[in-house]
């Protein structure tokens, strides 16, 4: 009953209702669309970092993070790997790697980098190096002397595919080892710094070179479904692994522990979004109050009359509030749909920041940003507007109860 009355009253002044509805719709849908882009940016940042040889969970020697030296390695990992795989939910990926600081030299150039020994088949879907290389090929099993370098590094050393480079690093016994490799592939990543920081060789080539037998330096775990939230509790899984690995020298950490800065940014992110919602809400709140006030003043006589006929103030408040509720609900639904359409149809292929590539790199964000629409953002934006919006309605509603019949008759 109230709703029907409210609906009719709303459309008594079509233009005014449409204008304030436009403000509400622009406000809410831009809240949601901006949130989708920001979240997409952050999500890109997170997955870039996780793909950057971090993984969801990493297990290494407890000294290794602070002092990544070859003596802090995982000795004979086969049993451990079986153990871990058994503990993880199905669909999880487990890869082993060995890494060491190294110097890469050509006849004219020397550069410092981190050499990583990998099993290329296992890396697919776990880290960027599992993707097909930008040029050349990933090494097969037989190719012991191949190295894969980053695109930027190749440019820096002025090299090309097939060229020979010398890798110098320290073996397990402390002696310096030099070995020649042929550049067999070139990888490209979102971030140029990554392209300069790493070079990859076969896992057992590197194990032989360092003289460490089957030892490795890290086990990286990718939990199933990496796009949305992983289905298992990251912290609990990490704690479970830590508690159950047989070797007490080992340390299990998840990406939130390994990337504290990004992690704390993620925690602040929802707060930033709420602030943005609040600001946009405030911008339209003034208009909301004003419009409701106009609607109320325009019907001053009507409210005075209703009160004269014996309507209780509570009912008048209810009348005004249901008009506002209807207006806001209407605005919220249209905006959510509009935001959904905007994100899925207009920006489904993302925004290419190519002209700001270096700026994007600076912030550690991907070159192409895909908006990510989450139910949290839609619900949060709508609730901010609905709850606080109803709050702003109190003032006009209370005003409406103050019109006495005598007073309104004098007012023309």
């Amino acid at each position: 009953m109230y709703i029907i009355l409210a609906w009719r009253n709303l459309w008594r002044n079509r233009r005014r209702t449409l204008i304030i509805l436009t403000a509400v719709i622009i406000g809410i849908s831009s809240m949601i669309v901006m949130a989708a882009f920001s979240r997409g940016t952050v999500q890109g940042m997170v997955s870039n970092s996780i793909n950057n040889l971090v993984g969801h969970i990493k297990i290494e020697h407890q000294q290794h993070p602070a002092d990544p030296a070859i003596e802090h390695r995982i000795i004979t990992p086969e049993k451990l790997l079986r153990q871990i795989t058994a503990m993880l939910p199905p669909g999880s990926r487990v890869v082993q790697r060995i890494r060491a600081d190294a110097m890469l030299s050509t006849s004219r150039e020397h550069v410092g980098l981190v050499l990583v020994g990998i099993d290329p088949d296992l890396e697919q879907g776990v880290s960027f190096i599992g993707r097909p290389p930008a040029q050349g090929t990933l090494f097969g099993n037989q190719n012991q002397g191949g190295i894969i370098v980053g695109r930027s590094l190749l440019k820096k050393i002025n090299g090309k595919l097939g060229q020979k480079v010398v890798i110098t690093c320290q073996g397990a016994d402390g002696t310096n080892i030099a070995k020649a490799f042929r550049i067999q592939g070139v990888f490209a990543t979102e971030l140029e710094s990554t392209e300069r920081a790493f070079a990859f060789v076969q896992l057992h080539t590197m194990q032989q070179m360092l003289g460490v037998g089957n030892d490795i330096t890290e086990i990286a775990i990718q939990l199933p479904d990496n796009n949305g939230n992983p289905p298992v509790d990251l912290a609990a899984t990490t704690a479970f692994l830590q508690a159950n690995v047989s070797d007490k020298q080992l340390l299990a950490r998840n990406w939130r522990q390994m990337l504290p800065a990004i992690s704390s940014y993620l925690e602040m992110f929802d707060g930033f979004m709420l602030i943005w919602y609040l600001i946009v809400f405030l911008a339209m709140a003034f208009g909301l109050v004003n419009t409701m006030l106009m609607a109320v003043y325009e019907r001053m006589r009507e409210f005075g009359l209703l009160q004269a006929l014996g309507m209780r103030p509570g009912c008048i408040i209810k009348m005004v509030m249901s008009e506002l509720l209807l207006l806001l609900t209407f605005g919220c639904s249209i905006s959510s749909v509009a935001a959904f359409i905007t994100v899925h149809f207009f920006f489904s292929s993302g925004i290419d920041l190519a002209i700001f590539a270096e700026g994007a790199e600076f912030w550690g964000i991907s070159r192409i940003i895909y908006p990510l629409l989450t139910s949290w953002d839609i619900i949060a934006a709508n609730s901010v507007v609905l709850l606080l919006g109803m709050f702003t309605g109190l003032y006009p509603a209370l005003r409406a109860t103050k019109f006495s019949p005598v007073q309104t008759m004098r007012h023309v």
Partner: protein, 407 residues
């Protein structure tokens, strides 16, 4: 009784409505002034941080060195050039710097690092490194055979103050360069890449070890102000001594920096435009009401011979009076807020760690400038003006008879 006064009285016919409208505009203006000052302030901090930390405002290099840092691409006779640069107006500091890649070894371990040869007495004036020494001391003029190393590198090589380390690299001419150094200082800049893989030695030592023959890789110029960069560049370009050299400004030296600021500014401006449009629509109803509730009055005015254009002007004046009042108040409050926080600073609490990773300080200082004080309000003014036009332009369509019939 000018038209202005007439408009002003009309504005206050409905004080509640006008106040709410002004408040909406005040809110937007305050926010825009403060946020833009904040953004511009942080950009300036970013530029200064980068400029001080590494690039300087301007650099003189050998052509090609910027793209590929090869040892042999040097600025010969660098000391002579310093003497040419120093007297130029706006130059505050000129320092020479060379860089080489070398293998640093402690007793048991080694790592590839970048070695910087610096002039401590000059760099001390501009860089933040002296303040980031956590153990030991900074380099001094006349030091010989000593080195500063990053804290992560020290840990990695298991070195502390007083320990000796060896350096193995390649000289400018391609011959083997080797030397022994004593650690006198360990620094933590907060940027992992710097703390993990850099070493600083004196320019004289570098010159000697890497057979540089008094040449340098970079001549680093710090300007008094950002505005001095262009005149300094022009002065250098017109000097024949620099003809065969490349002059690079900070935005070319650190292109990511400039773009990152542009990216940030553009995303900021998109947000501000959304905000202003929402505010504009919020106040559009007020503008419309000022028109519709007075239709009869306009009918009378048209009947007695006022031209429609005059009425358009009148209600535009009313809308703009509201807008101006709001913008003026908002800008003033925004400026006040900015000035307050530019002394106080704004702390980001937990976010400090993240900021450090990007090379920021943990406190932000908004900075007021003409740009930051005017850009937002101007945007607000333009968009509100066009909004006010929507109802105002309905006046010429108004027929006096119809207007008189409405009540």
């Amino acid at each position: 009784m000018g038209d202005m006064i007439l408009a002003w009285r009309n504005v206050w016919r409905n004080p509640r409505r006008s106040l709410l409208t002004i408040l909406a505009i005040v809110f937007a203006a305050v926010l825009l002034v403060f946020m833009l000052s904040f953004q511009f302030g942080s950009y300036e901090d970013m530029i200064n941080a980068t400029v001080r930390q590494s690039t300087g405002h301007l650099q003189v290099q050998s052509p090609g060195y910027h793209d590929r840092q090869e040892m042999h691409l040097v600025v010969a006779d660098a000391q002579h050039l310093v003497a040419e640069i120093e007297p130029i107006n706006g130059v505050s500091n000129v320092a020479l710097r060379s860089e080489a890649f070398a293998l640093m070894s402690g007793e048991k371990r080694s790592r590839g690092t970048t070695i910087f040869g610096i002039q401590p007495e000059k760099e001390k004036k501009v860089t933040t490194l002296p303040r980031q020494i956590k153990q030991g001391r900074y380099l001094q003029k006349g030091d010989h055979g000593v080195a500063l190393i990053g804290s992560l590198l020290a840990k990695r090589l298991q070195l502390t103050i007083g320990d000796e380390c060896t350096m193995l690299g390649q000289g400018k001419d391609g011959s083997i360069a080797a030397a022994l150094f004593t650690i006198i200082g360990i620094y933590t800049t907060g940027v992992d890449a710097v703390d993990r893989a850099t070493v600083h030695i004196t320019f004289a030592d570098f010159n000697h070890i890497f057979f540089m023959e008094k040449a340098a890789h970079r001549v680093i110029i710090t300007a008094e102000h950002l505005a001095d960069i262009t005149p300094i560049t022009q002065a250098l370009q017109s000097n024949p001594a620099f003809r065969s050299l490349t002059i690079l400004t900070w935005d070319k030296l650190a292109p990511g920096l400039r773009q990152s600021m542009e990216l940030d500014l553009i995303s900021g401006i998109i947000m501000y435009i959304i905000l202003v449009v929402v505010v504009a629509f919020s106040v559009l109803n007020t503008f419309f009401m000022a028109f519709f509730e007075r239709t009869r009055e306009f009918g009378v005015l048209l009947s007695i011979g006022a031209r429609p254009a005059r009425l358009v002007r009148m209600i535009l004046t009313e809308s703009m009076l509201l807008t101006f009042t709001g913008i003026a108040l908002g800008t003033l409050i925004g400026i006040g807020l900015t000035v307050y926080f530019s002394h106080q600073g704004i702390s980001f609490g937990d976010g400090g760690e993240l900021l450090a990773q990007y090379g920021f300080e943990d406190r932000f200082y908004p900075r007021l400038s003409w740009m930051s004080a005017c850009l937002g309000p101007a945007l607000l003014l333009i968009i509100t003006f066009f909004t006010a036009l929507i109802p105002a332009l309905k006046v010429p369509d108004l027929k006096p008879v119809d207007a008189l019939r409405s009540c």
